[in-house]
Symmetry: C2
Subunit: 214 residues, 2 copies
Amino acid sequence: MRIAILLFDRFTALDAVGPYEVLSRLPDTETVFVGQRTGPVRNEGGSLALVAEATLADVARPDIVVVPGGPGQSAHMSDGPVHQWLRAVDATSAWTTSVCTGSLILAAAGLLTGRRAASHWLALDQLPTLGAYPTGERVVVDGKYVTAAGVSSGIDMALTLAGHIAGDEVAQTIQLGTEYDPRPAYDAGAPDKAPDEVVSALRARSRFVLRGEA
Amino acid sequence: MRIAILLFDRFTALDAVGPYEVLSRLPDTETVFVGQRTGPVRNEGGSLALVAEATLADVARPDIVVVPGGPGQSAHMSDGPVHQWLRAVDATSAWTTSVCTGSLILAAAGLLTGRRAASHWLALDQLPTLGAYPTGERVVVDGKYVTAAGVSSGIDMALTLAGHIAGDEVAQTIQLGTEYDPRPAYDAGAPDKAPDEVVSALRARSRFVLRGEA
């Protein structure tokens, strides 16, 4: 089974590496980071670079496609090489997935039309104009399309997907191997849980948070 | 504030990127991935490469040091450039931290002597011979030493540390921004929660799991 994880400039690192750490532990799996060019691809902050090992043209028929989000998402909302690649690989993929604002890219490419989808909570309101139905769920499975909410939710998405692909015992083995027994020091990870002032501050900065604009 | 995240061959990707995603969102922070050489450093599976932007010699006085774990940890258990660098930066660091078997490296470098520490659950029994007191806790704060359990626990470690450094509201803002409201599909992330057969299978393979040995 071949897993392709898309990289683009100013992606969010954990969006890509969370699912990677889970899915790459599935048996008989090969994972490849793919970009428009091979070589280092910098994240939103610029201080992290992950290496794209293959170009879009190199990866024609992955079984699983993972599209991360991040401020760089806004550069991939119109037709171009990334959309063309996504539509081509989606034609034969077993699973087409996204994390965070990666679902906006999938939707803009026409792949989530009429489907339920997740996204970063600050970006959910952009899904309807792209043809998808937003949900507040952390992981949404609609047919072969599996979309996750913001950043860290890619780990939950991948663990859910691991169970669908390889069964509960394999997924539980991956969970125990990565000691994924989360205990956040705070209970502020969703807008209905965080203090009002924290939610308001992020909403006020949402363009910055989502697109890295000042 | 300068954060240095150590990279070495065959590190576990999420050990490094989980804390990165949280800590790099702290205000007025600069994060650098540091290695024995600059350039791509491959993870345990070999299909992921993160770029080390600086050498050990380049990063003399970071405020926070993060040491990930992974099978490559076993190559850093005796004195050498990595231990020498860790001892040198620890002399002036505000926080010295680890994820997963990274605590074995810190302990082997003599930095956890007499301290309580966490590690991957399969590696806890190695801490006493290295002078540290193992605990089954997910995140252990002992003075300026903050150690985390396996792989995914680095996110919890970093969120705890963010609160200590910048206060609850900043930490909650990071939690909400990364939508860290975990909902694993299974409840098998700790040895006292996972099915017996899953625990036994991983224990039987522990040398493979921890060191990548067949």
